[in-house]
Amino acid sequence: MIVLADGLTLVQRKLLHLRHQPGTLVAMLVMPAVMVVLFGFVFGSAIKVPGGGNYREYLMPGLFVMTGMFALSSAMVDVAADQGRGVTDRLRSMPTARAAVPVGQTGADTVTGLIGLLILLASGLAFGWRAHHGLGHALGAVGVLLLFRCTMSWVGTYLGLIMPSEQTADALAPLTLPLSMLSNAFVPTDGMPGWLRVVCEGNPISAAVAACRSLFGNPGATAAGGSWPLAHPLAATLLWSALLLAVFVPLSVRRFTRAGL
């Protein structure tokens, strides 16, 4: 109970940031907007969606997942900053519940993710993207996206805790972009060289993207001759999340409790 109460207080802390700097939300959406222009209009005209269909419809689920992926870098930077500036030590010297700090960070990332996702969904609709399988499936896809974002936030929280400095975290943060591109988010994997295809299809991002495409009824959900994760994207996404959470939740809590020991 105390974990929950303290976690909520820390979620509130992050939401107050948003209130003081609403620009953060805009910044969160800049990259997807750039991607819509670059891929939706520039490269997209030359990309053929497997099984046919509109490329921008194919692209949007990739962008939804990519913004979720960014929770990894933002959590990593936030946590490393708190640690570098002594805020983490202050919290650890207080009778605050040990697990509350990572819970608060990831909870806040999930809530801000929902706000960002709603804006992104609205922009998608404006670009001609549609959810074809009804509200129930669409809500399921939103659930998958939030679970994915929350998972990435836990991974980022752990990475932030083990960063030697805020600067290192800042320097590593942009790597999430190429990581999210090593997937089926922007281009189909069936044209890639064999080894790269294995890497990309094994990337948890690909499973999440494919799961969203299938729940939203967007084209390119399953690649022909694809690997198991892409043939069963929803199951693969849930398994990936369960696995990553099972590893990174205890690691982060333990690391927070014992940092500096």
């Binding site: 650890r92 010297s93 009778p95 500096g260």
Partner: protein, 344 residues
């Protein structure tokens, strides 16, 4: 002394090959300011980190407010406040929001945290800035908010790890005033500092730490008495040196050190008075430019105990720009050289 509120026995801490603490003992009387004095890397911060439950000792025992820090960290956390070298508050929030959030995390409850934050802001004259983002605060104001955040639970023991490092003189005085007020109300303060005048002004007892050990302990006055004072004489010309040295040897029983036309003599016991010095030197026919008797500062104490000035780093520490590393420290280093020269 009342039974100590912080007590440390044989504390050791090892980071890999580096022995940060090498068997440290401390006893802090309740309701006092206890100063931990030492250069960078001496182990001061490590002591504070162990006592505030942030890290565990490799060996030894420590209790704070009656609780063993290793066995009952939760109980210790309820009794302490910590303000470190950083302004450990959230820059993207206002001062008031920071205090409310930390107050709730300190188990004051939503309403309790609100009330306590408002009270403390008023008391420490931050009401005007309270609703501005901390990122717009001056360094001194940030440190004050940080200090207030450590007071939310009215701690029995407050740890201040170099609370005024990097602050301008005005802000230092502000922090000192707050510390004095807290102690008057019964709070015990354990203060680490490399500023010798800070310990001199605030602390009733001081432990000088070097290489993870206490090398001297006592009140600032006791420590200074151990060192004695210095007699400083500047003569008119080379020809006056020999006569002056002879007079100084006779009057002080010390060993005068000569540098150019200056003669510095350490006096173990009572120093002669300035008029007496002038009279005797004049009687010996010495032309005197300047005579002074300087009572030792803690700077001298540190120099005498460690052979280094406090601004100079110990193991793993670099030189930091402390106020002491100004003319005082340079003078001290010069003196050190001249003494070596005289004994060689």
């Amino acid at each position: 002394m009342d039974s100590p509120i912080v007590s440390v026995h044989g504390l050791r801490k090892r980071y890999g090959d580096l022995e940060a603490l090498a068997g440290l003992d401390l006893a802090v009387a309740p309701g006092t300011v206890y100063g931990l004095l030492g250069p960078n890397g001496a182990g001061k911060s490590t002591v504070v980190r162990i006592l505030s439950t942030l890290t565990r000792a490799t060996a030894g025992q420590a209790t704070v407010a009656g609780h063993d820090v290793a066995a009952r960290p939760d109980a210790v956390r309820e009794a302490i406040g910590l303000a470190g070298q950083h302004a450990a508050v959230d820059e993207k929030l206002t001062g008031r929001e920071n205090l409310r959030i930390f107050g709730r995390l300190a188990r004051l409850g939503r309403r309790g945290a609100r009330r306590r934050a408002d009270d403390l802001l008023e008391r420490f004259e931050l009401t005007e800035a309270a609703d501005r983002l901390v990122s717009t605060y001056s360094g001194g104001m940030r440190r004050r908010v940080d200090l207030i955040a450590s007071l939310l639970r009215a701690p029995a023991v407050l740890f201040l790890d170099e609370p005024t490092t990097g602050l301008d003189p005005r802000s230092r005085l502000d922090i000192w005033a707050i510390v004095r007020e807290l102690v008057a109300e019964g709070t015990t303060v354990l203060l680490t500092t490399q500023y010798l005048d800070e310990a001199d002004h605030l602390a009733s007892a001081v432990a000088v730490i070097d290489h993870g050990r206490v090398i001297a302990e006592g009140s600032p006055a006791e420590l200074k008495a151990r060192i004695g004072s210095h007699v400083d004489v500047e003569v008119g010309g080379e020809a006056d040196l020999a006569g002056a040295v002879a007079v100084l040897e006779r009057l002080t029983g010390g060993r005068p050190a000569v540098e150019d036309l200056r003669i510095v003599t350490g006096v173990p016991g009572r120093a002669p008075s300035v008029p007496q010095l002038v009279r005797e030197l004049d009687a010996a026919g010495v032309v005197v430019q300047d005579v002074g008797v300087r009572r030792p500062s803690l700077d001298d104490v540190f120099l005498t105990l460690t052979g280094r000035t406090a601004g100079t780093g110990g193991a793993g520490g670099g030189t930091t720009g402390t106020p002491q590393d100004g003319p005082e420290a340079q003078k001290a280093r010069r003196r050190e050289r001249s003494t070596e020269g005289a004994t060689a």
